[in-house]
């Protein structure tokens, strides 16, 4: 097991390095004067030179590359080009807000979608199964910002339920915050629901058709016992993989939803950084997302290894 974890962490480090290289290449693909871009055409040449020196953007490209690599492993991403406060002071609070939103979406979706997936699998090819599959397929195909817009029109504008802006005023308690976050979370849940439900359904159907399920039925176990003791235990693994890798999916969706609801989360922060060419903030945020994704897949792999004795025992040798 220890060997397995070490191997996975090592491969994560390699992937992170590759990721930061890709990001570095993308943002540096066009040579240009960073400070000039930040300050605009009218700025004085000496201000531009001073800012470049402060940002380190006057250094040779290779040195800048080295700096950007060092930053991911220390999680300090330098200062924002725009506001000149440390990037971590911007992205971590934003991350906290996004996490709140994502967590709420997660809590709404996971139990519902897993239940729907299992229910559909047990009634494979019956009308209710087709309905769940088709609805799930459709909702997960719609971009989150579209769902968010429609929810906003129908609930916040027409029915006056929920808030148009997701940012709660200062001093609002937990339940008050929920009221603000409910619509955007729902927008994410709707897309997410179909995805998880379909994956769960596929996993359960796979286990239902396995030979060991036949053995369990032939033993004379009741349907419930077969499901609980044999089918679900084996169907868990693929579902967990999907849930863990869907962290990226959630974050992708969160950008649009945050924009629609004007929520100051990580997505909005990234959009702002894009619009203002605030490269350090953008780099920091992107890498942060990458790290979160990788850690969550690592955790999922460990959990699967824990569930599957084959992985657990063989990798430990």
């Amino acid at each position: 097991m220890k060997r397995f974890i070490l191997k996975r962490v090592a491969s994560m480090v390699v992937t992170l390095w590759l990721l930061s290289t890709i990001v570095f290449m993308v943002v540096n693909v066009l040579p240009g004067n960073v400070a000039r871009k930040v300050l605009g055409g009218q700025a004085l040449e000496e201000d531009v030179i001073r800012l470049n020196a402060r940002l380190g953007t006057d250094k040779p490209l290779l040195e800048q590359y080295w700096t950007s690599i060092r930053r991911i492993f220390t999680l300090s991403f330098g200062d924002s080009y725009k506001s000149q406060v440390p990037v971590s002071d911007i992205i971590f609070p934003a991350l906290g807000r996004s996490a709140k939103l994502a967590l709420l979406a997660f809590i709404i979706t996971i139990p519902l979608s897993i239940a729907a997936g299992i229910y559909a699998a047990r009634r494979q090819d019956k009308p209710i199964d087709r309905a769940i599959v088709t609805v799930g397929l459709s909702t997960s195909a719609i971009p989150e910002f579209v769902t968010a817009t429609v929810l906003l029109v129908v609930f916040a504008v027409k029915l006056n339920l929920g808030k148009v802006y997701a940012n709660p005023p200062d001093g609002v308690g937990l339940f008050g915050q929920l009221e603000y976050l409910l619509l955007p979370a729902l927008a994410m849940s709707i897309a997410y629901f179909g995805y998880i439900a379909r994956m769960t359904r596929a996993g359960v159907i796979g286990a239902l058709h396995a030979d060991f399920t036949r053995t369990a039925v032939m033993k004379g176990l009741s349907q419930g016992q077969v499901m609980r003791r044999h089918v679900l235990r084996n169907a868990m693994a693929p579902t967990i993989v999907v849930i863990s890798t869907s962290v990226g999916y959630l974050i992708g969706g969160i950008v649009g939803v945050e924009k629609v609801f004007n929520y100051a989360g990580l997505g909005q922060t990234m959009l702002d950084a894009v619009n203002k060419s605030d490269i350090p903030v953008l780099q920091g945020a992107v890498l942060l997302v990458g790290i979160i994704y990788m850690v969550s897949t690592l955790l999922a792999d460990l959990f699967i290894a824990y569930l599957n004795p084959r992985v657990r025992l063989e990798k430990s040798r």
Binding site: T134, E144, M270
Partner: protein, 290 residues
């Protein structure tokens, strides 16, 4: 419990069975609905003047007129007819999304074949890069790249294609890994075929099923991604009637109860992605069942 073996005498029956399969998908309500909606938007994109009552940039007298007989979908903040803009907006997405999906699948197939068949360090390196790519939301990387490369349809196509390449490659690689273990590949090696021949002539036709499925699924995601990118500001610049741009331009007025300039383009996006994914699902269930 093996079923009967395919036999020559059962040949005509088998061919009929395949035709029957296609008849079954063509008859599926999901497939029909999907194709009808896509066809509608294709017609809109080809002949906007024929469908739309006005020019998409034509400023009418009334601003923010609610939906009614004069303007079915109302008018926007500058008095343009929303229906006409929605119809005209189909053009960009229907050009960009398929192009991006096809390109992405093309490169993904090549990469996946190389990875799966050659294996070794080629596979190892490519897998790492793919994993790095996949650890970021597609929309995010797209945004990043478009900001640096500038806004244009070509850039959007290129970026989406590049982002889809590793995803397609992963699917193709898995299919190739299963294929290369089969004895026909050994047999090809025994008669001295080159690696390129084995990859492209022997293996490629046998992984066409997953590739077709991947292509239809990618079409759906391409519409999704392109719409989202233009909503986030990486699409064509504002006077454009592109749906994502329209939503992005108008959603700030929602609070004033001007819901129609935002709602209708949003529904247009929803209808197109749902239609494409209904088609993709029909194709997938048929190809994976046979």
């Amino acid at each position: 419990m093996s079923a009967t073996q395919p036999t020559t005498s059962g040949l005509s029956e088998r061919k009929q069975a395949r035709r029957e399969n296609w008849r079954l998908i063509v008859r599926r309500p999901a497939f029909i609905v999907g194709v009808a909606i896509v066809l509608f938007w294709v017609i809109c994109a080809l002949f906007p003047d024929f469908i739309a009552p006005h020019h998409p940039l034509d400023y009418r007298t009334g601003k923010h007129l609610p939906p009614g007989w004069g303007h079915l979908f109302g008018t926007d903040s500058t008095g343009r007819d929303v229906l006409s803009r929605v119809v005209a907006g189909a053009r960009d997405v229907l050009r960009i999304a398929p192009a991006a999906a096809i390109l992405g699948v093309f490169f993904g197939v090549i990469l996946g074949l190389l990875q799966g068949y050659l294996g070794g360090w080629v596979d190892l390196l490519a897998s790492r890069i793919v994993e790095a790519f996949l650890s970021l939301p597609v929309v995010l990387v797209g945004l990043l790249a478009i900001t640096t490369l500038g806004r244009s349809n070509v850039v959007v196509i290129g970026v989406v294609a590049v982002l889809f390449t590793p995803i397609v490659a992963r699917t193709v690689r898995a299919a190739v890994l299963a294929e290369r273990e089969l004895d026909y590949v050994t047999s090809a090696k025994l008669r001295g075929e080159s690696k390129a021949f084995i990859m492209f002539r022997e293996i490629l036709p046998n992984v066409s099923g997953p590739i077709i499925v991947e292509l239809t699924v990618r079409m759906g995601y391409a519409v999704f991604t392109v719409a989202t990118l233009s909503f986030l500001g990486a699409g064509p610049p504002p006077p454009s009637p592109d749906w994502g741009v329209q939503v992005s331009d108008t959603y700030n007025n929602l609070i004033a109860d001007f819901w129609w300039p935002t709602f209708f383009p949003a529904m247009a996006i929803a209808s197109l992605v749902i239609a494409v994914s209904l088609i993709a699902d029909s194709v997938q269930s048929v190809l994976e069942a046979s």
